[in-house]
C-alpha cells in the first residue's frame, strides 16, 4: 500500500471526526445554510480541475478539466452567495427591534 495512501487516510479520518463534531453543534435552524456552505467548501475540487486543465496534456484532459473548472467554480460562487443571503435573513427578535 503506498505511503501517500496511509497519510491521506490519517487526514481523512481526523477531518471526518472534526467535521462530525462541528456539524453536530450546528443548530437545526441553520441546516439549509449548512448544506449550501459545505457545498461551497466542497467546490474546492476546482483546484484539481485547474491543475488538470492547466497542464493541457491532451485535448481530452483539457476539455474534461475545463468542464470541471466551470462546474465546480459555479458551485463555489453560488454556494457562498446563497449561504450569505440565507444567513442575512436570520434575525433574532431583539436585533430586529434595535
Amino acid at each position: 500500500m503506498p505511503a501517500d495512501f496511509i497519510s491521506n487516510l490519517y487526514v481523512f479520518i481526523l477531518a471526518g471526526f472534526v467535521g462530525f463534531e462541528l456539524i453536530k453543534r450546528v443548530s437545526p435552524l441553520l441546516h439549509t445554510p449548512l448544506m449550501s456552505l459545505t457545498n461551497a467548501l466542497d467546490a474546492i475540487v476546482v483546484v484539481a480541475a485547474i491543475i488538470i486543465a492547466g497542464r493541457h496534456e491532451t485535448r481530452l484532459t483539457l476539455i474534461l478539466g475545463a468542464i470541471a473548472v466551470a462546474a465546480s467554480f459555479s458551485n463555489m460562487v453560488g454556494g457562498f452567495l446563497i449561504t450569505d443571503r440565507m444567513l442575512r435573513m436570520f434575525k433574532s427578535g431583539r436585533s430586529k427591534q434595535s
Binding site: F12, P28, L30, H31, L41, I52, V69, F73, I82
Partner: protein
C-alpha cells in the same frame, strides 16, 4: 525563488485554506456569528484557488480564465434563486460537485502521467463510480423537486433486484479493471453503468423522503471529493471532502431518526406505495370545518398559538401571509411560536429558511423536542400545509406505516386548526386521525388565501 520553494509556499496556502474551512463550519454553530463562517470559507477558497493558479504545472491560462468566468456566470444566478427553489438548487449543486469529481477522476485516468498501479486503479474506479452515480442521482432529485419529474415514487416489480444488479455490475467492472488495469475498454462502460445506477437509485424515492435523499447525496458528493483527494494525493481535497461528507452523513442520520426509518428503508422502501391502497377502505367520519371569520375569533381569544408549517406552505408561497398573521396576533399580545419538525419541507432546515425570509425572528422558530412539552398548555395549534408530521397515529396505531415516527403533539393543544385544500390524504396516502378529533377544526382552502382571509378578519391586513 526555486520551484521547490514555491511549492512549499503553495502548501502553506492550502493548509491555511483547510484551517479556514474548519473555522467556517465552527462559526455556523451560532446564528449570530454564522456569516463570519461564509467569510472564512471565502478567504480559504480564494487562497487555495490563487495558490493553484501560481502552480508551475499550470501553463494553460486562457481556458482556465474562460471557464472560471463561465462558472461564475452560472453560479451567480444559482446563488440568487428564490428561497422556495433552494432544495432543487442544492440538489443541482450536488450534481455539479459530483460531476466535477467524477470528470477529474476520468481525466486523471486518461492523462496517464504515471503508469497506473492496481491500487490506483481501484481508487480511481471507486471515486468515479461514486461521483457518477451521485451526479445522475442528484439530477433526478433536482428534477423531482423542480417538478420536471413526478414527485411520486416510480416503482415496478423487481426494482430493487434490477438496481442492485446494476450496482454490482459497476463494482464488478471496477474489480475487472483492478485485475486488468490496461483494459481501456472497461473504463467507459463502468462510468456508464454507474450513471445508470444513479438514475435507478433516486427514481423510486418520493418527495416526502427528499430531506434524507438530499443529505445522502450531499455526503456522497463529499466522499467522492475526498476520494479524489486520495487519487491526486491532495490533502486539501481530502479535508474538504471529509467535512462535506460527514456533514451530509450527520444530516442523513438526523433525517432518518426524525422519520424513525433506516437508510435502507428510505433508499429501497418506496414509501407511500403500499399503504395508498389501504387508505381507501375507511368509513365516513365526522369532520368539523370553520370559516376564516370563526378561525380569526378563536385565534383572537387565545393567549398562546403555535403554528406548524409544512411543505404545503412552501408550495402555496404562503410564508409572507403567515408573517402578517404573526404580526397581527403578536400585536394583540398573543404569544406566537412556530413548531419545526426536522423533516418538514423538502430538505433539512427548509422551513426555517422560508420563515426567516419572511422576516420572522429565528428565536420564534422552535424545534420539535423543545416545543412538544408545551402543546398541552397551547390554546391553538394552527397547521399550515403539514400532514404526516402531525399524525397521532404515529404514536398509537401499530399498523400505521409511520408508527414510531416522532411527531409534533399538536392534538394535545386545546384547539387544533388545519388549513388544507381538501380531505384527500397527504402525499404518502396515509389517513390522519387528527382531522376527526373533537378539538380539531378543518379550514378548507388554499393556504395563502386562507391565511390572508384570517389576517383581514383580525384587522391586520394590508
Amino acid at each position: 525563488m526555486t520551484s521547490a520553494d514555491l511549492q512549499q509556499y503553495l502548501d502553506f496556502a492550502y493548509i491555511a485554506a483547510v484551517v479556514l474551512f474548519i473555522l467556517s463550519l465552527k462559526f455556523l454553530s451560532s446564528p449570530a456569528r454564522a456569516r463570519w463562517g461564509v467569510l472564512a470559507g471565502e478567504i480559504g477558497a480564494a487562497l487555495a484557488v490563487t495558490a493553484t493558479l501560481l502552480n508551475p504545472e499550470v501553463t494553460e491560462y486562457k481556458w482556465i480564465l474562460i471557464t472560471l468566468i463561465v462558472g461564475a456566470g452560472v453560479g451567480i444566478p444559482l446563488g440568487l434563486v428564490h428561497m422556495t427553489a433552494v432544495p432543487q438548487r442544492t440538489a443541482l449543486s450536488h450534481a455539479f460537485g459530483a460531476m466535477s469529481a467524477a470528470i477529474i477522476g476520468i481525466a486523471e485516468y486518461y492523462a496517464g502521467t504515471a503508469p497506473v498501479t492496481r491500487f490506483e486503479m481501484g481508487e480511481i474506479s471507486l471515486e468515479v463510480i461514486i461521483g457518477s452515480l451521485t451526479f445522475t442521482g442528484s439530477l433526478i432529485a433536482a428534477g423531482k423537486l423542480q417538478e420536471f419529474l413526478p414527485q411520486r415514487p416510480i416503482v415496478y416489480r423487481g426494482q430493487n433486484i434490477v438496481s442492485l444488479s446494476v450496482l454490482a455490475g459497476a463494482l464488478g467492472l471496477a474489480v475487472a479493471l483492478v485485475v486488468h488495469p490496461t483494459n481501456a475498454m472497461l473504463f467507459p462502460i463502468m462510468v456508464f453503468v454507474a450513471l445508470i445506477f444513479g438514475v435507478l437509485l433516486v427514481t423510486p424515492i418520493g418527495g416526502a423522503d427528499m430531506p434524507t435523499v438530499i443529505s445522502l447525496l450531499n455526503s456522497y458528493a463529499g466522499f467522492s471529493a475526498a476520494l479524489l483527494g486520495f487519487v491526486l494525493n491532495s490533502k486539501v481535497l481530502v479535508v474538504a471532502g471529509a467535512l462535506d461528507g460527514s456533514s451530509g452523513f450527520v444530516l442523513s442520520v438526523i433525517m432518518c431518526k426524525a422519520m424513525n426509518r433506516s437508510f435502507a428503508n428510505v433508499m429501497f422502501g418506496a414509501f407511500g406505495q403500499v399503504q395508498a391502497s389501504a387508505a381507501g377502505a375507511k368509513e365516513e367520519r365526522v369532520v368539523r370545518s370553520a370559516s376564516a371569520e370563526e378561525a380569526a375569533s378563536i385565534l383572537e381569544a387565545a393567549s398562546s398559538v403555535v403554528i406548524v408549517p409544512g411543505y404545503g406552505m412552501a408550495v402555496a408561497q404562503a410564508q409572507h401571509k403567515v408573517r402578517e398573521l404573526y404580526d397581527a396576533l403578536t400585536k394583540k399580545g398573543i404569544d406566537v411560536r412556530f413548531a419545526i419538525h426536522p423533516v418538514a419541507g423538502r430538505m433539512p432546515g427548509h422551513m426555517n429558511v422560508l420563515l426567516a425570509e419572511a422576516d420572522i425572528p429565528y428565536d420564534r422558530l422552535v424545534e420539535m423536542d423543545d416545543i412538544n412539552g408545551d402543546f398541552p398548555q397551547t390554546d391553538v395549534a394552527l397547521i399550515i400545509g403539514a400532514n404526516d408530521v402531525t399524525n397521532p397515529a404515529a404514536r398509537t396505531d401499530q399498523s400505521s406505516p409511520i408508527f414510531g415516527m416522532p411527531i409534533l403533539d399538536v392534538d394535545k393543544a386545546h384547539t387544533v386548526m388545519v388549513i388544507k385544500r381538501s380531505m384527500n390524504p397527504g402525499f404518502a396516502g396515509i389517513d390522519n386521525p387528527l382531522y376527526y378529533l373533537n378539538n380539531t377544526l378543518m379550514l378548507f382552502g388554499d393556504a395563502k388565501q386562507f391565511v390572508g382571509a384570517i389576517v383581514r378578519e383580525l384587522g391586520g391586513g394590508h
